[in-house]
């Protein structure tokens, strides 16, 4: 993974930068020893590691603003970091950049139930928000599988999803406001407890900007009443086509399930072997459909889903009759990643999204690729919204397997784009998918994205080397000669 060439001049000034930062963030808030910085050398994409120049852990918005203003004035790059759970390398450090960790921003500032919102600091974990309001029957809807560890600030940066996106939306649909610090150290407040501020939707573009536009120091989230009940249907199918058709038929019947998850044969076997959820092993595809809401409605719709499943040759069909049984249906799906981890020394989790109808075709092509690359793949799939998580099995200690896994992964994502989908549904581009961006976007498409970057950070000091395969100087963007033709991506110079 090539990253931007470190700036030797900045690295040479390290001691002076440390001294300046200590004046802004006193005590243990500035970490400069190599040993202590090791804890920050990677995020959830641990195949890539790099020691940061310095780590700063501010505890107030004012400190964040002063650190950023200092870095801006002195041309020092910055890598923002939440809980460090990114699966795309969004907070991978740079050798010449200050990593700013938001872990000390860990307080829930206000719970306002009459207005159904909470004001929290960015280091609060996703699950902590729901836990804080659970006693009153409320929750925060987006639920990425790392919710026990990932922070809400990181969720905003990545526009995180979860298994309930189809019905409840992603982070962007559930955030009402943020306090945000620009690279110049200006503190902005966007949105609040109200909906839809007029003017340009700065809140909307900051969400999912992967730390390239600024640092979020406070978040106002929307709270929802916990649904009265939830029930799940477990369905097994003799083929992926039947499973895929059943998904389409459920949606076409006007039903929006809270969760609709699919697993292929390899994932079913791994999960069943691990947690003994009672999954059928004689099926090619397993579908879990969860409905939540008012009890009368859930009962009504569960019957419809079961009928649709029967019409689509479901060979296994079980409706949860208790909360324990519903949790058991989910146990295997939720343990799918560690289950795959048991049967393979290493695995790589991909994250493309495809139009649902193309699923059988994509799975078939993936099996061909599996043969070509000589590596196994297990699939779990947010079938409701088309978000695919192929898990590529490999052994990093075996010669060429990591490279083959990376090539396999790239082939899968290119296939996702080819069938009308996208490179990443919820994990972000980061460094992982950066070099694939030209498969989805033309040079003009990317130049217009970089224009956004130029309005916020024209010196490219915030999280450089992420998302975009090439960083054009803002002044040069205007001179780009765009033909509308797609440049073949292997020829673009990379960092």
């Amino acid at each position: 993974m090539r990253m931007p060439e470190p700036d030797a001049a900045v690295m040479g000034r390290r001691e002076s930068i440390v001294a300046h930062l200590r004046r802004i963030v006193p005590g243990e808030g500035v970490i400069s020893s190599i040993d202590e910085m090791r804890a920050y050398d990677c995020d959830g994409l641990s195949a890539y590691r790099q020691l940061p120049l310095i780590v700063v852990l501010p505890s107030t918005t004012e400190q964040v603003a002063r650190v950023l203003a200092y870095c801006h004035k002195n041309g020092v790059k910055v890598v923002p970091r939440g809980a460090g759970t990114s699966l795309s390398g969004g907070s991978l450090p740079l050798a010449d950049a200050v990593t700013i960790g938001l872990g000390k921003f860990n307080r829930i500032l206000e719970v306002d139930l009459p207005n159904r919102c909470a004001v929290v600091q960015p280091g609060v974990t996703n699950l902590a928000i729901s836990n804080a309001v659970a006693v009153d029957g409320f929750y925060y809807a987006p639920d990425p599988s790392s919710q026990i560890a990932c922070s809400i600030g990181g969720n905003v940066a990545e526009n995180s999803g979860g298994v309930h996106c189809l019905k409840y939306g992603l982070t962007t649909n559930n955030v009402l406001g943020v306090e945000f610090v620009t690279i110049e150290g200006e503190i902005l407040r966007l949105g609040g407890k109200h909906l839809d501020s007029g003017g340009l939707d700065l809140l909307g573009i900051i969400t999912g900007s992967e730390g390239l536009l600024g640092i979020v120091t406070e978040v106002t989230v929307r709270l929802l009443r916990r649904p009265e009940t939830a029930k799940a249907v477990l369905m097994g199918f003799p083929s992926n086509e039947d499973g895929g058709d059943c998904v389409a038929a459920i949606i076409a019947a006007g039903i929006i399930p809270a969760g609709l998850e699919m697993m292929d044969k390899d994932a079913i076997a791994a999960a069943e072997d691990f947690v003994h959820a009672g999954y059928p092993l004689d099926v090619e595809a397993l579908l879990i459909c969860e409905l939540d809401g008012p009890e009368v409605e859930v009962d009504h719709l569960i019957d419809q889903v079961a009928a649709i499943a029967r019409d689509h040759k479901a060979s296994t069909l079980r409706v949860s009759t208790s909360e324990e049984e519903r949790m058991r249906f989910w146990a295997g799906r939720k343990a799918a990643f560690p289950a795959v981890g048991r049967i393979s020394p290493d695995y790589m989790c991909m994250d493309g999204t495809i139009p649902r109808a193309r699923l059988p075709e994509v799975l078939a092509r993936m099996r061909e690729m599996s043969v070509k690359h000589g590596l196994r793949v297990a699939n779990v799939f947010h079938a409701g919204d088309g978000n695919l998580h192929p898990l590529i099995l490999f052994d990093a200690n075996k010669d060429t397997e990591l490279e083959r896994a990376e090539a396999f992964g790239a082939d899968i994502l290119i296939l996702c784009v080819e069938v009308g989908g996208v490179l990443t549904g919820e994990h972000g581009v980061g460094v992982e998918k950066r070099d694939l961006m030209p498969t989805m976007f033309t040079e003009s498409d990317m130049a217009h994205q970089q224009r956004l970057k130029c309005a916020f950070d024209d010196g490219h000091l915030l999280n450089p080397g992420k998302v975009f395969p090439t960083l054009h100087r803002c002044a040069e963007l205007g001179k780009l000669h765009v033909t509308g033709g797609r440049l073949p991506f292997p020829d673009i110079p990379r960092f």
Binding site: D112, P114, R116, C117, G137, F138, N159, L166, L170, T172, N173, T182, L188, R189, G192, K193, H194, L195, D196, S197, G198, G199, L200, D201, L202, G204, I205, T207, S209, R225, I251, G254, I256, G293, P294, V296, E297, H300, T353, P355, R356, D385, G386, G420, G421, V422, L423, T424, G425, V429, F441, S444, D445, A447, H448, Q449, L452, C454, A455, F456
Partner: protein, 413 residues
Amino acid sequence: MTDTAFRPTDEAQLVELVAWACAEKKPLEVRGTGTKRGLGAPGNAEHSLDMTGFTGLSLYEPAELVMSAGAGISMAEVEATLSAQGQHLAFEPPDLNALLGTEGPGTLGGVISCNLAGPRRIHAGAARDHFLGFRGVSGRGEAFKSGARVVKNVTGFDLPKLMAGSMGTLVALRELTIKVLPAPEAVGTVLVLGLDDETAGGALSRALGSAHEVTGAAHLPGSLLAGSALPDALLSLGKAVTLIRVEGPSPSVAHRVKALRRELSDLGETHALDSAASRAAWAALRDVKPLVEPRDRAVWRISVAPMAGARVVESVGKVRPVEAFYDWGGGLVWLATDEEGAGKGTGERDGGAQAIRAAVAAQGGGHATLLRGSQALRAAVSVFQPQPGPVAALSRRLKDQYDPHGILNPGRL
């Protein structure tokens, strides 16, 4: 007024036109059928760029919950097409013709560019939340695309969000991709009669905090029932009406209406509306029908924290006569007031801007937009909530990036 109207029908023509306008520094009014020309600040473009040449559905896959269409496709066509498959645009786009004195169905491009959403905003999100991708030409005369046709997508910056609500000031949008959803089988509305504004706010908060999945929460004072499309029997009572909507399969709607009536019975007399009556009542609220007359009054759209709505109205009401009703659980205030000040003849003519914005600020902040006003008033006051310096500066820098020559809808935002 504009001199020439250009009506491109393909991307090459659009690129050529915008590139020409760039080179000649000729501002363009980017427009569809013109039903929303009265929104935002008055523009001052020399020529108009008519986008109604971009029509037709290029993609509609009901089972994938997605459609793509030309920006100039009429809303009537969009709604009819979706309705034939039992689907709809869940953000409930309003038809503001009656309020603004315009005619025509409006276009999809206009609805998205103005980020308009109706009562279901509190449940399903705004237009921005359903806008997945686009193709267009920036103010630099360059064609590009952003987003995709799938809902779950975090590949690169979310430029559709930047376009929704930008009122055509950054990019001339040519093709839009939108998330669609199943339309509910049945609708039910619980009415509570005779509540004052403050109590109604509490009732709406209770309903929205219940497990009944409320998709509409509004309050009409007794003086504004005329345009409400409520059944005559209710109108004749002349009492304030608090409306709570639930949607879904029939048995579920029936059950939840019953439960809500029971749970809110301590507040006053309750009634229920069936599907047809509910649809009529919510369409009237969505389209701001209660404030259409008299036509010479300024109409404000005020977005605040839900519990602050009634207090904003009370506070403005102390300095000038106002009429107001509430949507979004109390957080959206539709407020009508004379364009002239409380003391007529004083020459003060700000349509209440100062009083309203002071009240919003005092109640925790929010956003007050002048939605209807005379040309003179719209030119004299800030139509949108004035932004703090750094936010305004950032917005200006964004405009400069996408439209450095200021040729797309200059002055609208």
